[in-house]
């Protein structure tokens, strides 16, 4: 009895500590310098987020809503006007792959309040990536105009693409997937499937696009040979465009994108079909670009951001790529055109990570892909040295 009386308090303490670890929304990692906290639960398949200059966050949900967080707290109602705008833009949301996708601020957002949204428009039988621009005033979207719609339409819901990035000259890059069943179209300059296109802020085609001489709207094409590009980032300091895309089974790619280049799909790939058969017998093919890095087996990259003045000085300039199947974020260091370092982060979260962005204050935010998706905030762990 004396032994029990002596050890009981300690056992109780251990039990309470274990329960605290299990129930806590915070995942800490003592080996690295970060602490992950859940800010929000219950987002319906969130897809992308963007930080407003005042630090507020806008989060897209695929079904067609735009949520706003002020001081990391969700507004009681979604951004107004979005439902009407998306309805008039013929939003097609299938609850899985299609719907409201990416969001980007105009480079001069503080002057013009322009927000760009990408979505899948049409129907299951005929859908395409569409980009609209609207003015964001007093927590409402208004004055929406269509900026771009890809063609041809496709009858598959998969591989829409739809990521957005403004580059140095103020033009907008838009990623378009191959539609899965139409992979050969990625090599066809008559089709926008499997391409990255470049348009002006109002949707006009820049005169210096690489295929400007081509007829029939192909003049919008900036690069081709892409499979399912789900991340694009413009590094203003290095004047470099990074893009990542899903491979089939294996062969996820991180690419540096240049105008007019062919990124190879499906002529060459490091992956194979889901059935196990070859997509192509070639890992390299003349006239096509090799990836900066490729992941085999696949981790399914879904979003990308970069540390510029973030809260981890040791990560300055590094890329952060969210992974769906990989359920993590991968930090990638690129120096002199080569990947020199990689590190898996936040694996303890254990869920599909849909997007990753740095806040203006340098904290890292993740959104998790689920019908009850979460928004996570990552900051340096107090007192934990790296």
């Amino acid at each position: 009895m004396a032994v029990i009386a002596k050890t009981a308090p300690r056992l109780w303490l251990i039990l309470v500590t274990l329960m605290g670890i299990v129930l806590s929304p915070t995942v800490s990692n003592a080996a690295v310098n970060y602490r992950v906290t859940t800010l929000l639960r219950g987002l319906d398949h969130p897809y992308a987020m963007v930080f407003l200059p005042d630090g507020d966050i806008l989060v897209t949900e695929k079904r067609g809503t735009l949520q706003r967080l002020h001081n990391d707290v969700l507004s009681p109602v979604p951004v107004a006007g979005v439902e009407e705008i998306l309805a008039s833009a013929s939003l097609f949301a299938d609850g899985k792959y299609c719907g409201l996708l990416d969001i980007a601020l105009h480079p001069r957002f503080q002057e013009n309040q322009f927000i760009y949204l990408s979505l899948t428009a049409g129907s299951r039988a005929a859908n395409a990536v569409r980009v609209i621009r609207a003015r964001y005033v007093n927590d409402r979207l208004q004055e929406a105009v269509e900026v771009f719609t890809a063609f041809p339409t496709k009858d598959t819901a998969n591989h829409p693409g739809g990521r957005l990035a403004f580059i140095k000259d103020g033009t907008l890059l838009i990623t378009i997937g191959d539609g899965f069943d139409y992979r050969e179209k990625a090599q066809d300059l008559h089709s926008m499937l499997g391409k990255i296109v470049r348009v002006k802020e109002d949707g006009q085609i820049p005169q210096d696009n690489p295929f400007m001489d081509e007829k029939g709207g192909r003049s919008a094409i900036w690069s081709y040979g892409h499979r399912h590009p789900q991340g694009i980032l413009y590094d203003a300091q290095a004047d470099t465009v990074y893009e990542h895309e899903h491979g089939p089974r294996g062969g996820d790619e991180l690419n540096v994108i240049a105008a007019g280049k062919n990124y190879g799909w499906p002529l060459e790939t490091y992956g194979v079909d889901y059935s196990g058969a070859y997509v192509s017998p070639f890992n390299e093919y003349r006239g096509t670009e090799q990836p900066l890095f490729q992941w085999t087996p696949s981790l399914a990259p879904s979003g990308i951001t970069q540390c510029h003045g973030c809260q981890w000085p040791e990560w300055e300039g590094d890329l952060f790529i969210s992974m769906l199947a990989g359920k993590r974020v991968v930090r990638v260091r690129v120096r002199q055109g080569a990947v020199t370092e990689r590190e898996d982060l936040f694996e303890a979260v254990g869920e599909r990570v849909r997007d990753v962005r740095f806040s203006p204050q340098g904290a890292l935010y993740l959104i998790l892909d689920d019908s009850r998706g979460r928004l996570l905030k990552v900051v340096p762990g107090a007192g934990i040295s790296r």
């Binding site: 598959t156 992979r183 002529l267 059935s275 058969a277 070859y278 017998p281």
Partner: protein
Amino acid sequence: MRKAEVVLAAVAKGVLAFIVVVVFVYAMGTIVQCLFVLAALKSAGAQIPLSVIPRVVWHDLTHQSFYAEGVLVGFGVALPTAALLCRFSKLSQSWVYPLAGATALAVMLHIFNSNFYGLTFFAGTRGWSGFLSQLAVGAVGGRLFAAVRAQWP
């Protein structure tokens, strides 16, 4: 005792014929798929030297376990069903077995696609020509089954 031997011999003959046919359909179906994929790749601009094709075919023959399982299960259901139909009806083996083989592959491909987000799981069957060629392979497999059973002593 003699009757049991006869039954056992019939079963053994059926099992052997089944194995031969499953191997044949897997190999032929894989090769046909492979050729459709390579043709599509060529249409996208790839130059594929003839020397590469055997390597591609061998790779696909040794890596399509899902297809092998599908053929095994599909024919495992279709051929005994066809045998029963022929035994208890006056239907002709010459078309019941080919129909069973084609149906087996059609159902198998449909099940794979249905469980794959409605997309085409086997890339060589994306177009109608690729799909119908698989049905043709299944039909030939069914006909072969009937022929092998009839020929073997």
